[in-house]
Amino acid sequence: MSRLTRFVKYTEKVVRNSMKRLLVLLLMVVLGVSVSAKVLFQDTFDEETDDWKLGMTLEVYEGCLNNDTLGLSLDAELLGEEFENCVIAGTFQINEWGKNGALRILFRYNSLFESYWLSFWPTGIGIHRFTGTWESGTLLGSNDSPAFGALGTHTFKIELNDFTFKVFVDGKEVLKVSDSEKEFPVGGLLLRFDDVALSFDEISVDSL
């Protein structure tokens, strides 16, 4: 094989490899774009918008959604949005628990008692499924730890993958449950302040 032939073959290999690399790179970019999470909704509560329907003592000021009143059940309903598989995440600060205190994050919300409830209590967290009435509530799973409901700031994340729900609190996975009944594949989002003084700094919903 002459030097010239070897040079040509080498050049062809380099070109072929470069093309391959380019193709792989392009493929990675395409895949990367398609698999990276897409922001479906986000609110940092810098100002009160019409995105939410707020209960009477819920207020947006100083960059937070605030409730300072104990003894009431107050809802912040996200209007006109529905989500399937997604990641709901946020940061909140618990200032005071009332006697019956609970923070609820109702996901795949169709109505108050047609949805899943992630609840934070002073003693831990749990996920319920409601199918029409209060009595229909079924506890899908819970994790008792006062750390989750301790006064102060917490982050949370719920990954909704079909009917398996993973909950992360303060960066750690703390609960994983599945709904064998596969009741609600889609629905909105509602934050419920039950007898708790609390402020939300931010909340977001990303695609899974």
């Binding site: 947006v60 000021y61 009143t69």
Partner: protein
């Protein structure tokens, strides 16, 4: 020198006694002395001087909240306020003008200033510049003519009722704060809020006020005395002055027995309230529409109210007289 010192000491004691604030013994009236809670009397039904004199003779009261709810045009309202302030001066009664968002006059004359979905009771859209201008002008006029110590804003019952009835757009915190700023910057008076709902005590925007008149209706109706005490104590921690309504009837025309006003007065005092109030707007409304009674004519004709709720009414008058003597 010794005599001079004693004299100065006596003068100092006398002086400090005279500036000490009295326990506030207040009533709340419609500017027109009408009998409709939504202020639909477009003319003055009774003379302010007669109202103030009668109540003074009966109770020795010292404060009157007078509500403008758009009964007449703003210029006309200011003329009528003149009668109230004159009567107040004559009988040593502090007049607190109060503005409501309810405005039947603007609903007729400038409907574009009314919230499109404000339901059966027309309320001005406080987000609009023209509304701010009209109301700021009312405040400025009253301030320049009468220099009231306090200027009142009707608690945005709308604020809370809005989200419950869905008949009215929610007033956002920033909008409420802006409204208070617009009105507050048009007067040198301190700010009062009335009748403040129990759930409002923790709201950001009510913290702008120096004086709150508490809506105590549910507690007196249900005799939930611990809750009344708790609510009053919370309010006392937020506001410099707090008075509470000694309401005598329920919304449906039933009497709240006299013993309850006595109990409520005791709890309000023990919890740190600095005054009492009694809402004649709701009393005259309920009596007119549920009991076919004309409260004001009854009271003003001979200086005493002799109608179906006289026992509770007289008890409150007695509480006022006793408080005035302390």
């Amino acid at each position: 020198m010794k005599r001079l010192s004693i004299l100065l000491l006596i003068l100092f004691c006398l002086g400090s006694g005279s500036v000490a604030e009295d326990f506030r013994l207040a009533f709340t009236v419609d500017l027109m002395v009408g009998h409709h809670a939504w202020f639909d009397s477009p003319f003055l039904v009774h003379e302010p001087e007669q109202v103030v004199k009668t109540l003074k003779d009966l109770t020795g009261f010292n404060t009157l909240y007078v509500f403008y709810g758009g009964q007449v045009a703003p210029e006309k309202a200011i003329e009528i306020f003149d009668k109230w302030f004159s009567a107040g001066e004559k009988f040593a009664v502090e007049i607190i003008p109060v503005l409501s968002l309810i405005n039947n006059y603007l609903a007729r004359e400038k409907p574009e200033l009314i919230y499109p979905n404000s339901g059966p009771v027309p309320k001005v859209d406080l987000r609009l510049d023209e509304v701010k201008k009209v109301y700021a002008q009312i405040v400025r006029e009253i301030d320049s003519r009468y220099a009231p110590n306090y200027f009142g804003i009707f608690e945005f019952n709308e604020f809370s009722a809005a989200s419950m009835t869905e008949q009215y757009p929610r007033i956002k915190t920033t909008e409420a704060l802006e409204w208070i700023e617009v009105l507050g910057s048009s007067t040198k008076a301190k700010k009062a809020v009335t009748f403040m709902q129990p759930w409002a005590v923790s709201l950001r925007w009510v913290k702008e006020f120096n004086l709150a008149s508490l809506d105590t209706y549910g507690f007196i109706r249900d005799e939930t005395w611990d809750e009344l005490a708790s609510y009053t104590k919370k309010a006392v921690n937020v506001f410099k002055e707090v008075d509470g309504d000694l309401i005598i009837l329920d919304d449906y025309g039933g009497e709240l027995p006299a013993i309850r006003q006595r109990k409520a007065a005791e709890i309000l005092r023990q919890s740190g309230a600095t005054g009492f109030n009694m809402d004649f707007i709701i009393i005259s409304h309920v009596l007119w529409y549920k009991r076919n009674e004309d409260f004001w004519t009854d009271l003003l004709s001979d200086g005493s109210y002799d109608g179906v709720f006289r026992e509770s009414f007289n008890e409150v008058c007695q509480i006022y007289r006793e408080s005035g003597e302390k």
